[in-house]
Symmetry: C2
Amino acid sequence: MAAWSERKLISRIQKAAAIHRSDVLLSIGDDCCELATGVSTLISTDTLVESVHFDTSFHLPYLLGRKAIAVNLSDIAAMGGIPRFALLSLCLPEELEQEWIDTWMDGALSMLHEFDCVLVGGDTVKGNNLVFTVTVLGIPVNEGALYRTGAGIGDSVWVTGVLGSAGAGLELLKNRKKNPETVDNEAWETLYEAHLNPLPRVHLGQKLARSGYVTAMQDISDGIATDLAHICRASKVSATIDSELLPMHGSLLQAAAFLHMSPTMFMLRSGEDYQLVFTVREGKGKSFVEYMGEDKRLVTNIGSVTSGEGVYLLKNGKARDISFQGYEH
Amino acid sequence: MAAWSERKLISRIQKAAAIHRSDVLLSIGDDCCELATGVSTLISTDTLVESVHFDTSFHLPYLLGRKAIAVNLSDIAAMGGIPRFALLSLCLPEELEQEWIDTWMDGALSMLHEFDCVLVGGDTVKGNNLVFTVTVLGIPVNEGALYRTGAGIGDSVWVTGVLGSAGAGLELLKNRKKNPETVDNEAWETLYEAHLNPLPRVHLGQKLARSGYVTAMQDISDGIATDLAHICRASKVSATIDSELLPMHGSLLQAAAFLHMSPTMFMLRSGEDYQLVFTVREGKGKSFVEYMGEDKRLVTNIGSVTSGEGVYLLKNGKARDISFQGYEH
């Protein structure tokens, strides 16, 4: 296997960037790129570091490339924004195989294409370990971007999809690495997939931003105990969520039992689900569900916003403070 | 000395970002930041990796922080743009001292403030070695951004400032590290400074873009042999530069002699001068110099654009192809 060449990689990136789109005034190949922008631009950047954020022994390059993009698209989704442009900074060890990084690029580009986001710039450098920094630019929907600051007392708290799958998937993958003879459970594929290949809630985020009912939103990257606490702090309110209402995938219970861990712990504290947590204006829950139409199956009301501060979990009639008890990267 | 804490660093970054400016609609503290933008946005990203791009044994944190920002501002300068916003992604080893990264931040912020550029986002992660990724956004001057593509046959070739200082400074610093007993030469301070604390040509770049005389421009980060070759390739022309005309600092000759290296080699091939190389429209050289006024001492005509391809150095009446013989990072 041949080690990667910077020339080949840059040529690959330049080809990928050679997409004609009217809002790309100048693409890769100059000192800057020049983008046609509107009155406001959303921007987010995230860095993934080998052995801190991913394990290449079970996270294969195609899905890792997809995920490096997905976690940034998720930040745009959390504002209800429309992704437009991406920049990649790749720090790669000298001995990395060309095929590995080519496959990583295939994955990254597939995720960008899925969300109509075009690669416009970046940088490739040599370093001791893999570090991927992705920057994504987007625009808000016409109704405006959704901040963390808008939650009001009496609003209801909602999440998209299911919680805890990515966290349980990661633990199962780590367990399989340590004990390769463990019999795999087919039902766990969905949990592996949640960790290895998360799908950012881009379109759903836009629909929520357009609804006029959503008052605050953010994505779930560190577990809802932490991410909802961010909304509460920014909005100067408190939230209480009901452990009975937390949505989970059918196989989470069994996986948690196998791992001797609590399914609720996964749902509250484990990161990287890349779902959205949001609040719906007081008294508008029913109208909101009607507005969602077929997509109502993708959202779940898990609690409500109250005065005070912090996030509380209601279980067996008791409320317990769980603020910021999520995963720390 | 205490190791850095992510909490302290993020709090520091948040304080630095808490600058009220009407074009920052939403700063650090949400999933994205939201920026007021105009019809077009310039963007550039660069990654600096320890032991590849810098040596912390002689590059102290304050100046290193300044330089991490400067190399990105230089990309905006190369378009004649106005820097507006910056994002920082910091990958830091666990054992790094808090004071080191605080001082690095002081330096980075000082450079941002000097050019009225505001920190709006970023990411901090743990990793094995120092990796700094900086993304800078700017806007073109009203006359438009200067690309690499506009050089025409008959245009004259110019550079700002002097060449080779940063390259010679780096070699002198490396030499001093190996041979600490070497007697320092006061005249070399300017060369050290050129490597350790380069100043991006932001205001000069804007003046050049506004002139209406400049047809193509880029910054000198890899040595003029490579950087002018980029303009030639993008503009589908050739350039010939005269070795007698290359501007150097007074101490370069002596430093090169001390290092047993050629001063011309430093001027042509060594990177990181962060000066600008640009072309002036045929027949407009005199008007251009008049337009520059007092700043004419900051620009030097070093050659001209011809048909064909590649960059040629004229020396003792002979022209030699030097295309892409600059420094490779």
